[in-house]
Assembly symmetry: C2
Homo-oligomer: 311 residues x 2
């Protein structure tokens, strides 16, 4: 006997529906590759307004502000465990370094439908897998007493084409990072878990905080994911955006223990390897959550939300 079950709508249907809504409203324009969009002036105005709101709420008068281009030195990339853990997300930048003869050969391959990219050479650069990676190598050495606090922003690349408008191959992260001793790092993480939630509540987003893990690659990755979750090193601030069933992490906090301190030779003022912690806001995801929850036209958003954003 076959029991009738409710037919669950595949999640891709929800993704496509939300993407169509956003495209029809002119907020997103497809650039011909999944997960790569142009954004309208209306979308960007909301995004930048949220970014400014976080600036207004930063509790650290001494945060060092840095803005990065989204490129990480290959040498620095190799000092991390990115290739072990997230090889499938990497973006390696390759260019052409030949002369005219090699140029003709490469054009010939292209014209014959052969793989001309084999004639390229890897540059000194990767696309950065997270904003703060660009900062740690600049902090090599001994921290002052009290450590250092950073206010960062950068484009970030993750090779994960998707039709979920919340999962783009490049996105902008706004991060607040603390380098110091373990207590300082943990205090930063705790402060920002609460403050991040408050800021998102201010703009009418009823988020939830959950322990989470990164998408470590392969079978060994599953072990690492469990360990990370058990040790509560990562929390995600989540809300339903593209799909009710599978909420989206629109921000996350991460306690890195001494991982970056080790990788980039950063010492606390007491000589121990520095610890670090950060919060990262996914600016496009927060913006998409605002459009999802308040409607596609910001003119009609609740006034408390508009006021929080300065709209």
């Amino acid at each position: 006997m076959i029991c009738e079950s409710t037919t669950a709508v595949p999640i891709t249907v929800a993704y496509q529906a939300f993407l169509d809504e956003l495209t029809d409203a002119g907020l997103l324009t497809s650039l011909g590759v999944p997960g790569v969009y142009g954004y309208s002036g209306v979308f960007e105005h909301v995004l930048e307004s949220f970014d400014l709101l976080t600036t207004r709420r930063v509790p650290h008068a001494q945060a060092e502000v840095m803005r990065f281009p989204g490129l990480l030195s290959r040498e620095h990339y190799l000092k991390t465990s990115q290739m072990e853990n997230f090889p499938d997300l990497m973006g390696s930048i390759h260019s052409f370094t030949g002369r005219e003869r090699e140029h003709m050969a490469m054009l010939g391959k292209r014209d014959r439908g052969e793989d001309w990219t084999q004639d390229l050479t890897p540059s000194a650069l990767m696309l950065t897998p997270a904003c703060c990676y660009q900062m740690y190598p600049t902090a090599t050495g001994t921290l002052p007493a009290g450590g250092r606090t950073f206010d960062l922003r950068s484009p970030v690349f993750r090779h994960e084409p998707s039709i979920d408008p919340c999962r783009t191959q490049v996105f902008r992260q706004r991060e607040f990072v603390r380098l110091g001793n373990p207590d300082e790092a943990l205090q930063h993480r705790g402060t920002w878990l609460a403050l991040g939630k408050d800021i998102l509540n201010e703009v009418g987003l009823n988020v939830e905080i959950i322990p989470a893990n990164d998408p470590f690659f392969g079978r060994a990755g599953r072990v690492m994911a469990s360990a990370q979750k058990e040790q509560e090193l990562k929390h995600e601030i989540i809300i339903a955006v593209s799909s009710e069933e599978k909420p989206t992490a629109i921000a996350s906090t991460n306690y890195h223990l001494d991982y970056f301190g080790n990788a980039f030779d950063i010492k606390s003022s007491d000589g121990a390897t520095a610890h670090s912690a950060c919060i990262g806001f996914g600016l496009e995801r927060v913006t998409l959550a605002l459009f999802k929850h308040h409607g596609l036209d910001p003119d009609y958003w609740p006034s408390e939300v508009k006021n929080a954003l300065g709209l």
Copy 2:
């Protein structure tokens, strides 16, 4: 008899000196690869203020605002003559698409000092060589009467490592682009040559306009460069920044004839292949010009400049 001549300072000395000044002032931080920097909050505030000034000066009430991530579909890249003309500037994005066995093999190559990047595959994406390239494919089809005008901004990548702080591998372009018939495109170019100069004068930059050419690759490239210059298709708005002898182009206008209209099947409302023209401001270069000409501390800039920038 040996005549004494004045010893010209090599330009690299000028570049390094300016880079050192900027780094010592905390405006730029090296990220370990020539031409890749983190920028301080002070630098970014000036950059964004200039960007906002251009917004205030845009004469086109009907400009369509789009903001791009700096990634161009490889398929779209191949529809242009970028590979013929600027192969040395390209940024091709490669990633890892294997499973665990290939992953172990790649890690092994890395550990043995072999070229592990050979195990990567080209993605569907390039880094964009100019901001507007991301827009043209979205405009395929027939334009409305009067054409279309765009207000664009994007990171841009050019593989040209340099110690000149004005020549970065990634930079931000703010562009105003016109798609239409030849008269409309030329009028846009003419309007913006004058307006661009005015805006830069407003912030105390005494720029000059010169006919110019793009850095076409190879021997054939020299012919193309001459043709472009003779036809006055490209103008650069220049001012001394890193070096007195070799001024920097901090903005440029380009009349593309029907190049993009052809490449991306864009037609005017009368059925002819569309023409296009654009102005692009190099936002970091304008900002560097401001620090060069007015000093390293914006608090002490002339008040008319501060007022124009809203500082």
